[in-house]
Symmetry: C2
Subunit: 242 residues, 2 copies
DNA sequence: CGAGGGGTTGACGCCGATCAAAGCTGGTGG
DNA sequence: CCACCAGCTTTGATCGGCGTCAACCCCTCG
C-alpha cells in the first residue's frame, strides 16, 4: 500500500482511520455511490476518514493541496474572503455533498472550507478520483450531478439570500435551514449571527434584530438545546410581502 | 435523416439551417470540442443553427423542452423571476458557454434564458447529447468543465455583484463586462439600466446615477457607437474602498 | 409633429450600517 | 460555590445610502 506522505499516523487526533468504502453504510449518498465494491481493492492512495471540530479549516482558497472531501455528517461553509478582511459565505453544505471538486479542472481551491459543526468526512486524493473516473465513467456522471446541485444552490443563494430586504433574507435563510439542515425531529441548529450575516450580506446587528423579532413573534422558537423550529408558512408570507 | 418534429422548415425566420459540426470553424470552443469529426455522421436528431434577435426568449423556467444550447455569438441572460413579478439575472453568458445543461439531470429548465444581443447559437437535442456522451466519455468531462465554469461565475456573482455598496457593485459589473465581454478592441456594450439593476439587485435609478457619475468622471467613456471603455484601475480602487 | 421608451436628475423618507452600551451565557479559577 | 471574565447577543441612537415617486430630457419611430 502506498505511503501517506502528509500525515504522521497516530499523532493526528482528527484521523479516524482508513475509510472502508466497500463497507460504508452510507455509501449510497456519498461520492462513490455508483461504484461496485471491487473498485476499492486496488487504490493507489488510501481514502481516510476524519472528524474535525467546529471552526477547523479544511482547506484554504488559492492553495493547491490534492484532496476532495465527501461530507458524512455535519455542515461545512465555503467562504470567500475579500482583501479588506470581510468575508462572504457562498455555500453551506451538508451530508452527501462533495467539496473541492474544482481540483478536477484546475490547480487550486476556489474557496476556504471551514467546519461549522463537528464534521465527519472522507478525504479522497484527486489522483484516486481520476483513476476511478477513468475506470468507471459512471463516476463522471456523479461529478456532474454534484456540480449541478451546487450550481442550483449558488443560484438559490443569489435569488433568495442576496435579494430583498434584510427581513426577507433572514426569513429565506431560516427556510433554507429548515429545508436542508433539519434533523429527524424537524429541528435545526441556529447558526451564530456572524455566519448568518456573512451568508446574506448584511450587518450582524441587523440579523440579530430580525432573529430576536422572529423569536418574540414565536415564528422561531427553541425546541431543545440549541435546536430550533420555525413557522414555515409565516416565513413564506414574509419572503413574499416583507 | 430523422424528421424535425418541432419546426416547419422555411417558415421560421430564425432558423439558419442544419449545423455542420464537423466543419464548424469555432468548434474548438463549442460544446463538442473534443469529439472527432466522424461523431456527427450518425446522429439520430439534427443539430440546428439559429440566430435570435435581442429579447427573444430561448426557453422558460419550469418548462421541459428538450434542447441544450451552445452559444456561438452574442450574450444570453439567465433570469429568475420572483412571484411578485420582479426578476433577478443570475448569469450572463457569452460565446462558448452551454446553457440548459440541467436537462441532463432533471426534467425542466431552471431559469428563463433571454437573448441580450443578436444571439447566434446551436440547438442540440438532449437525446443527441446523451447518445454522444455514452459513445464519447470525453464529452462528460466537457460537461463537467462547463458546470464548473458556471459555478465559478455564480460564486463571483455572489461575491462581486451582491456585496458592498451600489457604487462598488456597479464598478464590479463594469469590470466583469470589460473582462469577459469586451471585443477585439477592448470595448464592450453597455447593458441597459434595467438589466444592470437586475444583475446587482439595486434600483434602476441608482444604477443610472452611478453610471452617469462614472461617465462624468471619465472612468467610463464611449468608444464607438454603443461600445464603451473604462479605466480599470480606477474601478478597482472603487471596489476596494468605495 | 406627437407619442413613447429609455436615461438622467431631484426631493424625500425609510431601511439598515455603524458606534456604543448593556444583557446573557458558558467557562475558568479562586 | 461564587466571582469574574470573554465572547456572543440584544437593544438603542444616529446618520447616510438608497428606494421611491416624479419631473424632465433625449432619441427614435410612426
Amino acid at each position: 500500500m502506498a505511503k501517506d506522505s502528509e500525515h504522521t499516523f497516530c499523532t493526528n487526533a482528527e484521523w479516524l482511520g482508513r475509510a472502508h468504502c466497500d463497507k460504508c453504510h452510507i455509501r449510497h449518498l456519498m461520492f462513490f455511490s455508483e461504484l461496485p465494491e471491487t473498485a476499492f481493492h486496488k487504490l493507489l492512495q488510501p481514502i481516510d476518514h476524519y472528524i474535525y471540530p467546529p471552526g477547523s479549516v479544511l482547506y484554504e482558497a488559492d492553495t493547491h493541496k490534492k484532496f476532495i472531501y465527501s461530507i458524512r455528517r455535519g455542515m461545512v461553509k465555503l467562504v470567500h474572503e475579500a482583501q479588506d478582511g470581510s468575508c462572504r459565505i457562498v455555500r453551506l453544505l451538508g451530508p452527501g455533498a462533495t467539496i473541492g471538486l474544482e481540483l478536477l479542472e484546475g490547480e487550486d481551491y476556489h474557496h476556504t472550507a471551514i467546519a461549522v459543526n463537528h464534521v465527519d468526512l472522507c478525504k479522497i486524493p484527486v489522483s484516486t478520483t481520476r483513476q476511478l473516473q477513468s475506470e468507471y465513467p459512471a463516476l463522471c456522471k456523479h461529478v456532474g450531478q454534484q456540480l449541478q446541485e451546487q450550481l442550483d444552490l449558488a443560484d438559490q443563494w443569489i435569488v433568495a439570500l442576496s435579494t430583498g430586504t434584510a427581513k426577507q433574507r433572514v426569513a429565506q435563510l431560516l427556510l433554507i435551514m429548515e429545508e436542508f439542515f433539519s434533523d429527524e425531529e424537524d429541528a435545526f441548529i441556529l447558526l451564530n449571527r456572524e455566519d448568518m450575516a456573512a451568508m446574506i450580506g448584511i450587518a450582524v446587528e441587523t440579523v440579530s434584530r430580525m432573529i430576536a423579532k422572529f423569536k418574540r413573534q414565536k415564528i422561531l422558537y427553541r425546541y431543545k438545546d440549541n435546536r430550533f423550529m420555525c413557522n414555515v408558512t409565516a416565513l413564506q408570507q414574509i419572503t413574499r410581502f416583507g
